[in-house]
Subunit: 235 residues, 4 copies
């Protein structure tokens, strides 16, 4: 069932591991078959060394396991909210990568300080609100998804395919599982750069003095790569 | 004698080396056979490249060498205090990993800023008091163990399987030598994240402004992984 | 056509990747045949794993593609300005390496804090002015080149073969493509060192207290390696 | 001539490269045959990939080349001052490793914040004075050596086998070339830890609040490893 999708999702998980973004069994990637309404996702707590396409778990959009002997990632309900709410995304990745998580722990969105960021994210990457007690003690992983959707109320998830979950870590997405992983790699990179940038430019009160990049520069870079007149790559 | 334990302890030491947490001959891991009351531990100052199970030293809980041609790790008395005082732990690891040691050198416990930390440690990781002159000039390595036990007077060592020894480095433990090493890996990771988190959020006086994670979030993550109703992993 | 140059430019791009300065398809290196007035440059958005000399694109100094099936790097017009304006340079490299980009994002030139820097760059590495709206919406990549040239109005590009482009990243150059890559490697290294140096020496207002290196020390190191009486290396 | 020493010095240089402390052709290691009064040292500016024992250059203590077709490291006169002045040392290493150099660029000695440091260096690692114009324009590399010796006027170089040269980098030494390299590795490690330690503990004026380690702790660790009653390692 969905052999091709399972193979791609497995490989995307392994790519996430190879990129150095995750250690131990942390992190997970999923992909969706929109026609079937089915999602393939990494099983929970399985060693990357032993992970094979056959281990991927197939769930429907309500979270019911349709195929697979293993328990799906405990973060599955978060992925499913994103697939239901963000039309057109084809893959989701979750990491606790070092610098992205540090911004999430500081409960700060990631400012767009330059073109490296703007090539992938058209403006700040938002941070969710902290979850309240009711949400923490309720359907926690689903509430995490809802908090993400809330953070995007006024934002286009296709133009900013990433979010920082307060006190937690990062979720990224894209048209495919591979694109979701690429966005995780870029998010970690720009999160590190932004942290260093702020330290290089403090005002007399120890607050970051640096201004975010001009929105015209941000648009220029995002659109030369992703707009209808994009001219980056061999497209 | 205890061939299986020696093999596991040797492999756990090599895993510590492969994880990048230790350089040169630094670091050591031990494991205990509770039925026999015997501990297998890395020999002192031996190259990881040449380390074999046969080099592991067997000591009893008073520190008497029961088997082995080499001198046991100079930190052996610290390990033994932990085995005697923390019932049910099966392995202990010691590192000078970069960020954990930096917190230890700053004589600060590690605040719990997010779920990466809470997945393994249910709240702050404590720091010991600095040793006094009498303890430094007495049975130093044993005194180090006693200082650790003191730091846990009001804490459950199974819920926070790690400690920072002031001006020194980290000790971690767990149900097995492998778990102790895993906790060392996670401790270094969250120690790095916490240091970056604080720098991203300074108040006007240059002090960290960031709040620790909500205890309900900490409990949620610790218990979904370790509690009796845990649903992380393949259970 | 220009087979030798294409092979060298391809290898220089691969060296840039191996050095760890670029991830994904980021970064690009070019080289010029001054006699022919032709430039070989990396194609846009092609995987490093599959890159071969035959993929290099040959353009003239006005940017017209003379040979090659692929689209040249989108940064080609920036490279061409540098070849036209900086007589005698033979190669150009562009990266978004972590620390160099952080300085660029902070819109700060890189101060010369020591001999590591002075061995390659005779004084501060300048930062360009931020581009205005007109330049961003015009011939953007060419304007980037013009901003670099403007930053060198009073500086000798052979003595400081590097620049930070505000809110963007780094360009380096040299007598050959290989030298341009070497300068990118060194720029990242000294950008990291300088960031740490400043943090180790803050005044009571949180501003960097550290003084730049004595110009006599800078001259000594630059000239013992690059001057006519150079005595570093095997001459 | 001195084949064994040349092989060891070559291998120590390669070990320095493998340790990640040096990039490109930076760094150099030498070793001395005290009976012959001859020093083997790395040639200047030669690729590590192609370096063989036969390339090592033999010089006498006045710097006269006694054997070798290549020019010796440009830092040779600094090494020779150390061999002449620090009786009993058998090897010297020089690096621009990232964190050690940052402290050198900040013109700060490295405070001893913990036992990782004290296991190798019995107290702060000193920084030299900045060289004056006369020294910079005179016999520069020899003057660098003299500045190091001056920094040790009241210190024992066997108890602190390392120094930071202001605005430059690090020199380390030891009873052998291998020990000198090991001390370079440790110096970089503790230089990084100390930088992080300070950032974790700032007072209200942004100055490091952390106290150096108790001298009794420093002595305990240095002597359990290096004193006459040392009990670390296999003795």
């Amino acid at each position: 069932m969905l052999e091709k999708l399972k193979a791609r999702v497995c490989e995307a998980n392994l790519e996430l591991k190879r990129s150095g973004l995750v250690i131990l069994t942390w992190g997970n990637v999923s992909g969706i078959d929109r026609a079937e309404g089915l999602v393939a996702i990494k099983p929970s707590g399985v060693d990357y060394d032993e992970m094979r396409p056959v281990h991927m778990v197939i769930v429907d959009l309500e979270g019911k396991v349709v195929e697979g002997d293993l328990r799906p990632s405990s973060d599955t309900p978060t992925h499913l909210v994103l697939y239901r709410e963000f039309q057109g995304i084809g893959g989701v990745a979750h990491t606790h990568s070092t610098h992205a998580t540090a911004w999430a722990q500081a409960c700060r969105g990631l400012p767009c300080y330059g073109t490296t960021h703007a090539d992938y994210f058209r403006g700040d990457v938002p941070v969710t609100a902290r979850l309240g007690r009711k949400e923490l003690q309720g359907d926690y992983e689903r509430e995490t998804g809802l908090a993400i959707v809330k953070a995007f109320r006024k934002l286009n998830p296709h133009e900013r395919p990433a979010v920082l979950v307060a006190n937690h870590g990062a979720f990224t997405w894209g048209p495919s599982p591979e694109a979701a992983v690429e966005n995780s790699i870029v998010l970690e990179q720009v999160a590190e750069m932004a942290a260093i940038t702020e330290r290089l430019s403090l005002d007399l009160w120890g607050q970051p003095l640096v201004a975010v990049a001009d929105s015209a520069l941000v648009d220029k870079h995002f659109l030369r790569k992703h707009g209808k007149d994009a001219y980056y790559g061999q497209g």
